[in-house]
Structures are given as C-alpha cells and as structure tokens.
Amino acid sequence: MAEQDDAWGQLLAAANAGDARAYVRFLQSVTPVLRGIVRAKGGGLGEAACEDVLQEVLLAVHLKRHTWDAGAPVRPWLYAITRYKVVDAFRARGRKIDVPIEDFAEVLAAEAGPDPTEAADMNKMISMLDVRSAEIVRKIGLEGVSVAETGLALTMSEGAVRVALHRALKTLAILRERHVK
C-alpha cells in the first residue's frame, strides 16, 4: 500500500511538473482502484452508471490536481476527492450513500473488463459544448489525435488548442454539475 502510494506520488509529482507520459500512467494506475471504489459503493446502479461516476471523479481529480501538496501522501488526497464526488454523484442519482473513507483501503481494484464499458453521460455533455470545443475533445480523446495535429486540422495554433481543451474540460465539469442536479 505504502509502495503504491510512493509510486503514485512520484508519477503525480512528475505530471504536475509537466511530464505528460507520467500523468497518463498516473491516471491509468489509479483508475482501476477508483473504479473498484465506485462499484463497491454504488454497485446497484449498474456498470455503465458506475463508469459515468468514475469519469466524473477522474475529471475532478484532473481539474484539482494543483491542490495536491507534493510533500503529502497521494492517497488521502485522492480518496477525499473521490469520496466527495461519489457522494455527490449518487445523491444526484437519487441515492443517499454513506462513504466512510476508511473502507477504501479494503476495496479491490476493478479492471474495465475485455469490453470496456461505454459511459453515456460524458458524450451527452460533450455534445453540449460549442462545436469547436466538442471537436477538440473528440479528436484528442476518441480518435487519439495529438494536440499538434488537432491544431493543423482546425487551423489553430498548438497553444490555442491546449487552452481550448483546458476550458472545455472545465466546462464539462460545470455542465455535469448542472446536469445532474
């Protein structure tokens, strides 16, 4: 457990210093654990809804990553965000749940399975963005196009694409908030 925390800390510290590859590895390695937590707490909702909640948590972790203090362990920080968003998400879906944070330690990581679950909410939110922002998120996310190529395709500078992507993700978080309430 402590070793995993150290590994996450190193990855997140590198990510916050601008290492995009470390950031992908960080997100990929926390995702199964977070998915396990979401399913353990809200299994009755079904896998697809749990995947929606998981994506909400990941978006929150992403937008709040600057609130992690590099000197502090990652796990309490990560679980606090997860707990906040999970409670929020389940309440919005009409279920009140109690999420004692100590339970998280016992949750088993859950892989997405051979056919990764398609989450529906995020698509809905993306289609509520303005056309250009939606296209940027889809290109980079769904099609795996690089920022540079996206810029070429949309005749935007790389910097402009980055800023637009950042704004789009912030807007997505706000849209989710409004949509689920």
Binding site: G18, W77, A112, L165, A173
Partner: protein
C-alpha cells in the same frame, strides 16, 4: 466515451494552475494594502501609534487580531485541499479566543466599577462596527476566491475560517486607527464585528464553495 479516451483527453490538457499559496498571496497582500491605505486616507492612523505599539494593553489587540487572521489564513489553505476537512485542527483559533476572553476578564476586574460602562461603550463603537466589516470585504473575497480554486470538501468550515481570517486581519489594520485601548471595548466590539463577518462568510461559503 470510454474511460481510456477520457484519460487521453485529460492527459493532453497541460495547462497548469498556480498552487493555492501563490493564489492566496497574490490576492491577499494587495487586498490588505488597500485596506491599510483606506484607513490611512479616510480615518488616519492614530497620532500616538509609535507609543501604542509598545504599550502592552494597546498592542495586544493588534497581536490578537493579527494572530487570529494569520492562523485562520493557514487553515484556509488547509481547507482548500480536499483532505483538509479531515486533518484540520482548530485549536489555534480557540487559543486566540481564550486569550481574548482572559484579557476581557482581566480588564473587567482591574477597571473600577464606575468606569466599566464608559470603557466598554467607548466613543467609537459605531465606527468600529461599520469599518471592520467594510475593510473585510476585499480580504474575505480573496480568501473565498482561493477556496474556489481549491477543492473544498467542508464548505461550511472553509467559509467560517475565511471569515475569521479576513475580518481578523482587517481588525488588526483598523486597530492602527482606533484609540480605544481598553480590552472592555475592543474585545467586545472587535469581537462582535469579527463574529458578524464570520457568520456571513460561513453562510456564503456553505452555498458557494461546493463544486
């Protein structure tokens, strides 16, 4: 959208936000500067400021409000982090409150009975009760902004400490003008002004600091 796709989109977003301490300092220091300037230009600093700063009973209120403001500002930075709600300890605030109450009791005992009422009511109660909340608006606003940039998981408590921090620091600045040196006056009225600002800040925080 699959979660792997989302991760790819998140990882491509490399726009970094400043850490919370930086955000707080960039906002709070100018806000306090503006508050000090406003006091200096509109009310003026007290003429015997240099003497007051070495008179224990007079400087005590600057120290008390200043320490309250700084201690609460540190708590704001803690509560701006998601795990802050579980780890934050409030005893420094309780210690300041206890010291202020102790000073009040001491002043009550040492002030002759016939002088107590005059010392408590003073001459500038209204100015004090109006000025401290006015001076607090900008600093408390900056503290709430910082909290919004953070990831608050205890909005009520975060609003509470933001109110204490902003009004405590503002009261310390107001004390540079105010000449009412009896703890009977300043613990009572500064305390009331700080309590009022803190109540409003708590109510606002409970609503606006959710995300």
């Amino acid at each position: 959208m699959k979660t792997d796709d989302l991760i790819r989109a998140l990882a491509a977003d490399t726009v970094r936000r400043p850490d919370l301490r930086t955000t707080l300092m960039i906002g709070l220091l100018p806000a306090l500067g503006v508050a000090a300037l406003a006091v200096w230009l509109s009310l003026g600093f007290r003429a015997d400021l240099a003497t007051a700063l070495v008179t224990p009973v007079s400087v005590a209120r600057i120290l008390l409000t200043g320490v309250l403001g700084i201690a609460a500002s540190r708590l704001v930075l803690l509560l701006a982090r998601p795990e802050g709600g579980q780890t934050t300890r409030f005893w420094p605030l309780a210690a300041v409150a206890a010291a202020a109450l102790g000073l009040l009791v001491w002043a009550y005992v040492t002030t002759p009975e016939e002088a107590r009422q005059m010392a408590t009511v003073g001459k500038t109660m209204t100015t004090c009760l109006i000025t401290i909340p006015l001076l607090s608006i900008l600093p408390v606003g900056v503290l709430h902004y910082t909290l919004r940039q953070g990831a608050v998981t205890a909005p009520l408590r975060a609003g509470f400490v933001a109110g204490l921090a902003g009004s405590g620091l503002s009261a310390a600045i107001y004390a540079l003008h105010c000449t009412e040196d009896s703890p009977l006056f300043y613990v009572t009225w500064y305390g009331l002004a700080i309590a009022g600002v803190t109540l409003v800040s708590t109510l606002i925080g409970a609503r606006s600091l959710r995300w």
